[in-house]
C-alpha cells in the first residue's frame, strides 16, 4: 500500500515541477486526440446526419454495420493501420508509421462509428415536423442541415464527448502505430503501460491523474454548453 501512497505523492511532485517527459506525453496525447477528433467530427457529423435523416434501401443494414463498428477492438484497428502504413503497405510511402499523424488516423477510425451512430440517433430523435417547418420558412437544403444540427446539438455533444473519451483512453492504436517513442509518439496511455512495466508507479499515477482531469474538463465543458442551451 505504501508504494501507492508514495507513488501518488511523487506524481503530484512530477506534475507541479513540470517534468518534461511527463508533459511531453500529455501534449502528444492532446495533439493526437485533437487531430483525430477534428477529422472524425468533420466526416462523422455529415455522414451521421445523412444516415439519420434520409430513408433509403439498406438503411437498417447500414445502421447495423455502423453499430457493430462501435465495438471495434483498438488492437485490431492498430493492426490494420500498421499494415496500411508499414513499408510493405499501400500507404507506406507516406512515412506516417510511428508518427502522431499515424496514431490520429487510427483514432479517427475508432471515433468515426461513434460519431456517426450517435449523430444519426440524435437526428432521428428530432421532431418530424422540424423539416416541414424549416421548409415553410424558406430554408434551403443546406440551411435545413445546419439548423437540424443545431437543434440536435445536445446529442452531438454527447457523441463528441463519448468519442473523445474513447480516443483519450485507448492504448492499442497508440502502441502499435505510434511505437511508444519517447519525446515523439509516447502518449499518456502508452506511457502508463510502460512505466507500470518498469515499476515506476509515480509517473503512471501522475499520467492517470492527468487523464482523469482531461475527462473531467471535457465533461465540464459539455455541462456548461448544455446549460447555455
Amino acid at each position: 500500500m505504501d508504494f501507492l501512497i508514495s507513488g501518488f505523492l511523487e506524481a503530484i511532485r512530477l506534475l507541479s515541477v513540470g517534468d518534461a517527459e511527463t508533459f511531453a506525453a500529455i501534449f502528444a496525447t492532446i495533439r493526437v486526440a485533437g487531430l483525430s477528433m477534428s477529422v472524425s467530427l468533420l466526416i462523422g457529423i455529415p455522414l451521421g446526419y445523412l444516415l439519420g435523416y434520409l430513408d433509403f434501401p439498406g438503411k437498417r443494414s447500414l445502421r447495423m454495420v455502423v453499430d457493430t463498428l462501435l465495438s471495434l477492438p483498438t488492437v485490431f484497428i492498430g493492426l490494420m493501420v500498421y499494415a496500411l502504413l508499414s513499408n510493405r503497405g499501400p500507404l507506406g510511402e507516406m512515412g506516417l508509421l510511428f508518427t502522431l499523424t499515424g496514431i490520429a488516423i487510427g483514432q479517427a477510425i475508432l471515433a468515426l462509428p461513434i460519431i456517426i451512430a450517435l449523430t444519426a440517433s440524435a437526428v432521428e430523435s428530432l421532431d418530424a415536423s422540424l423539416r416541414l417547418t424549416l421548409m415553410t420558412l424558406g430554408a434551403s437544403p443546406g440551411r435545413i442541415f445546419l439548423t437540424s444540427i443545431r437543434e440536435a446539438r445536445h446529442g452531438l455533444l454527447t457523441a463528441a464527448v463519448t468519442a473523445t473519451g474513447r480516443v483519450l483512453t485507448e492504448v492499442g492504436i497508440s502502441m502499435m502505430v505510434g511505437g511508444n517513442i519517447k519525446w515523439h509518439t509516447r502518449t499518456i496511455t502508452t506511457a502508463i503501460a510502460l512505466e507500470t512495466n518498469k515499476g515506476q508507479f509515480a509517473t503512471g499515477i501522475a499520467l492517470g491523474l492527468v487523464l482523469l482531469a482531461l475527462a473531467f474538463g471535457v465533461n465540464l465543458s459539455l455541462s456548461l454548453l448544455r446549460r447555455r442551451g
Partner: protein, 341 residues
C-alpha cells in the same frame, strides 16, 4: 384578378395508395379560399403540395404562372405554410420569428419586425425573450404564425390554425390572418373544421373527400355502417336509434351526403307525407347566417349527428324556430347522394 397558384393534373400517393387527385385547382391572388372535408380527406396533403414542401407524385404546380418545385428560391421566399403542428426551434421567441427574415437577408430592424409580428398575433413584445418551452400551446401556435406573418408572404397557407387552442388564441389567429390579407393583399388558403368560420370569411370553399374535390355542399356526410331494408333502401342508425335512409349505392360507396337544401320542414301529422319521404327528429342547436351562403343555416342535432339545414327566411318565420326547439325534418332518400369510394 391574377392567378397566384394553380395545380394541374396533380396526383399524390403514399406507398402506392393515391391520397390526392386534383385535375385542376386555381387560387386567385388576394382571395381567401377554404378547404373543408373530414379527417383523411387530403386537406393537409393538398396544402403541403401547394406550399411546395412536398413534391407531388405527378402533375404540375404553378406559382404566378411558372411551373415550380420544392426549394425554388423565388417561391419559397414568397409562399409559406403554417402546419397543423408547427415546430418551434429550441431558441427564444425572437429567434424563431426572425429565422425566416435572416434567411431572406432582411436583417435591418429585425427587432421592430419581431415586435410587429408579435403584436399582430396579440402577444406583447416582452414575449420576444421567452424560450420555446415557456409558452402555452396557444401561445406557441401564435408565435409560429408570427414567424410567418413577419415575412409578409404573398400567399399564406394555414392547416387547422385554430384547432386545439384556447378561444383567445383562436380569435387572435383569425384576426391576424385577416389583417395580413387586408394590409398586404396576402392570399389565404385555410384548411379548417370550423365550417362556420370558413363560410364567413372565404370567397370560395373547396370540399375534399377521399382526396378528391367535390362540388356542392357536404356538411351532412354520413359514414354508415349501412344495412339493407326490405323496401329496397339502405339505412344507417344514429345514436338515438333513429335511422337515416338512402337509395342503395351503385358500387362500394360507404359515405352518403344529404344536401343542406335537401331538408324540408315535416308536414303536420294530419297531412300524410308522401310514401317515399322520411323524417328525422332532432333539436335545433343554432341558427346562423354567414357571408358565403344565401340561406341561413339551422343546426339540428339528431342523436349525436349534427345536420346542417339551409332554410329560407320564410321557413324560419313560419316555424318560429329557436335553439332548443324540437323539430322534424323531412327528406327524400332518393335525393341522398353517395360520395366516391
Amino acid at each position: 384578378m391574377k392567378e397566384i397558384l394553380r395545380l394541374k393534373q396533380v396526383r399524390h400517393s403514399y406507398n402506392g395508395r393515391t391520397v390526392l387527385t386534383m385535375p385542376e385547382l386555381r387560387i386567385m391572388s388576394g382571395t381567401i379560399t377554404g378547404l373543408a372535408g373530414p379527417n383523411g380527406s387530403g386537406k393537409s396533403t393538398l396544402l403541403k403540395i401547394m406550399a411546395l414542401t412536398e413534391r407531388c407524385s405527378s402533375g404540375t404546380v404553378y406559382f404566378n404562372g411558372s411551373a415550380v418545385a420544392p426549394f425554388d428560391k423565388q417561391v419559397r421566399h414568397r409562399l409559406t405554410l403554417l402546419p397543423q403542428a408547427p415546430y418551434l426551434l429550441k431558441r427564444t421567441v425572437s429567434d424563431n420569428i426572425s429565422y425566416g427574415l435572416k434567411i431572406r437577408n432582411r436583417t435591418e430592424d429585425i427587432t421592430a419586425a419581431v415586435h410587429g409580428a408579435l403584436e399582430l398575433v396579440g402577444l406583447d413584445a416582452s414575449f420576444s425573450n421567452r424560450l420555446w418551452f415557456e409558452l402555452s400551446g396557444g401561445e406557441a401556435r401564435r408565435v409560429a404564425l408570427a414567424a410567418r406573418l413577419a415575412l409578409k408572404p404573398a400567399c399564406l397557407l394555414l392547416d387547422e390554425p385554430t384547432a386545439g387552442v384556447d378561444m383567445e388564441s383562436a380569435r387572435s389567429i383569425r384576426r391576424a390572418v385577416l389583417l395580413a390579407r387586408r394590409d398586404w393583399g396576402t392570399t389565404l388558403v385555410i384548411a379548417s373544421h370550423h365550417q362556420f368560420w370558413l363560410n364567413d370569411i372565404c370567397e370560395e370553399l373547396i370540399y375534399l373527400y377521399n382526396g378528391r374535390r367535390l362540388r356542392g355542399s357536404f356538411e351532412n356526410i354520413l359514414l354508415g355502417p349501412w344495412e339493407r331494408t326490405g323496401e329496397g333502401l339502405v339505412r344507417a342508425q344514429l345514436a338515438d336509434g333513429q335511422y337515416v335512409y338512402a337509395a342503395p349505392p351503385q358500387g362500394r360507396e360507404n359515405a352518403a351526403v344529404i344536401d343542406t337544401g335537401g331538408f324540408a320542414p315535416a308536414r303536420p301529422q294530419k297531412e300524410p307525407a308522401a310514401r317515399t319521404i322520411r323524417e328525422l327528429r332532432g333539436t335545433v342547436t343554432g341558427i346562423f347566417q354567414d357571408r358565403l351562403q344565401d340561406a341561413p343555416r339551422i343546426h339540428v342535432i339528431c342523436g349525436d349527428h349534427l345536420f346542417v339545414v339551409a332554410a329560407s327566411d320564410q321557413f324560419l318565420r313560419d316555424r318560429e324556430l329557436r335553439p332548443g326547439q324540437q323539430v322534424t325534418l323531412a327528406y327524400d332518400p332518393a335525393a341522398v347522394s353517395w360520395l366516391p369510394a
